[in-house]
């Protein structure tokens, strides 16, 4: 059943995000061609294209956040909730399918951005320059003692941060739906209150266990904080949706 839930979530997300991925790749192609055939102003177009592509990527991330919110809000807490919460599946599966499909789409976006980079490198004459730059980074990183470890560690950290942030939104929306008056405002307030609570918890934790911040290059406390947030937000979300579902 979980797989089936994922299938429909991905389908729903895909309708919005796939065209954007396509747009990104097409844009990358156009810009790369622009660089290639207009060599005299190559440097200025290179700068311009870089800014434009960064702009589109930023847009995708912004839209990504909106989609995460919209899929949960509309897909579970509004009228669609009448369909989803009467399916023979657990509330946990409903939440996790939303989370995993969001993660999968994020991962897909990263892949598309990498593809975009490769595309630009191959088509534009700037490739030599970029390859050199990457090589340089690579050498620098090898010089760092635990480079491979750091990269893996960074990936985990980013992943945890993403999950924690998505759950933060879920928990806030779940608390928001409890209100009969203004759900959106209530959700917004919940988001801020949850953020405040967790920064206080983070601060206290650092004071109680000062060694934590020295772990893993000073990010130990972050990992700990994210895991704590994920667990807490999940419990809030699942409990409230199970016991206090309040569909309009």
């Amino acid at each position: 059943m979980f797989g089936k839930l994922m299938k429909y979530d991905i389908k729903a997300l895909g309708k919005i995000i796939f065209p954007l991925w396509g747009a990104l790749l097409i844009l990358g192609f156009i810009f790369s061609l622009g660089i290639r055939f207009d060599l005299t102003v190559a440097s200025s177009i290179a700068v311009f294209s870089l800014i434009a592509i960064i702009g589109v990527i930023a847009a995708i991330f912004t839209i990504g956040i909106i989609i995460v919110i919209q899929r949960f809000w509309k897909g579970l807490l509004k009228q669609e909730g009448y369909l989803m919460f009467t399916l023979p599946v657990s509330v946990r599966s409903l939440i996790l399918s939303k989370l995993f499909s969001a993660l999968l789409i994020s991962f897909g976006t990263v892949v598309v951005i990498v593809l975009l980079g490769i595309e630009v490198m191959i088509i534009s004459p700037a490739n030599v320059f970029i390859f050199d730059y990457i090589k340089q980074i690579h050498i620098e990183m090898l010089q760092v003692k635990y480079a491979a470890f750091s990269i893996g560690y960074a990936v985990i950290l980013i992943l945890l941060a993403m999950i924690a942030n998505i759950y933060h939104l879920y928990a806030a929306m779940t608390l928001g739906q409890l209100s009969n008056k203004n759900r959106f405002l209530f959700a917004f307030a919940s988001y801020i209150i949850l953020a405040i609570i967790f920064s206080v918890v983070d601060y206290l934790m650092l004071n109680i266990i000062p060694d934590l911040s020295n772990l893993a290059g000073g990010t130990g406390s972050s990992i700990f904080k994210y895991i704590l947030e994920i667990i807490a937000f999940h419990i809030v979300t699942e409990t409230v949706l199970t016991r206090r579902l309040n569909l309009e």
Binding site: M1, K4, K7, Y8, K11, A12, K15, G75, Q79, E80, G81, Y82, L83, F85, T86, L87, P88, V89, S90, N180, T242, R243, R244, L245, L247
Partner: protein, 240 residues
């Protein structure tokens, strides 16, 4: 025989407002039951408690001996008083969806009914008219061979032709071993198809009896009885 639905001192309040209070009910299998009461009498709350969309604040409700959960959701086919479609879906997506999630869904029957109604499977749900959307939802719900059908106000606000279609669909496609619980305040329309009635008022059950027995006793139609029972409410506060 074990009751299909059992409510034991069931209650639900929202804050200080009591929507349902001390409800004791036993509902058996294989019948069509009218859940009759004016707007705001607790019909929807009772239905949502049975299908697990709400959690009781007092007492409990058992479906086939168990509290609402995954098992009860497998055997309940629910028609809410709202549209619940995702806006990206086509009719065919919904057929897939129901086939995927409900083992008792009879896809062939649903397809046949869509065909009869002239509803194309390739149509986007959002492009359909309100009346057609309602029909799509009803066809999907009634094409399940469920043990329990919970229909919340299926005939409110539809024209007579649509109403006849809805009643025919309910009568012709429900699983005969199953029970159909129809909530409505339009009694005359379902007068002929129900064999039991439950009168509900201000969150309490006033009466639960066989429809024909009530007619025999009173010499009146259920509609007339309902009007009598709720007459004072209708005019309450309206006098100048």
């Amino acid at each position: 025989m074990k009751d299909l639905i059992q409510c034991i001192n069931l209650g639900k309040s929202y804050g200080s407002k009591e929507a349902l209070c001390g409800v004791n009910l036993e509902i058996g299998t294989g019948r069509i039951i009218g859940l009759l009461g004016p707007n705001g009498s607790g019909k929807t709350t009772l239905i949502k408690l049975i299908n697990g969309l709400l959690t009781p604040t007092g007492g409990e409700v058992l479906v086939d001996g168990k509290r609402p959960g995954i098992d009860s959701k497998k055997m309940i086919s629910y028609l809410p008083d709202k549209m619940y479609f995702a806006d990206w879906m086509k009719v065919s997506d919904l057929l897939d969806f129901f086939t995927d999630f409900y083992e008792d869904f009879d896809r062939t029957q649903a397809e046949k009914m869509f065909d009869t109604l002239g509803i194309h499977e390739s149509s986007k749900i959002t492009k359909l008219s309100k009346g057609t959307k309602e029909k799509v939802q009803l066809v999907l719900v009634m094409s399940r061979k469920a043990k329990l059908y919970l229909l919340d106000e299926p005939i409110a606000g539809v024209d007579p032709a649509a109403r006849d279609f809805i009643l025919d669909t309910i009568l012709n496609s429900y699983n005969e071993e199953g029970t159909v619980l129809i909530s409505t305040h339009l009694i005359a329309d379902i007068e002929k198809i129900m064999d039991e009635v439950i009168f509900i008022k201000e969150g309490r059950i006033l009466k639960h009896a066989s429809a024909d027995d009530l007619r025999e006793e009173s010499g009146k139609s259920i509609d007339a009885l309902f009007r009598e029972m709720f007459h004072s409410d209708v005019y309450k506060g309206r006098k100048a």
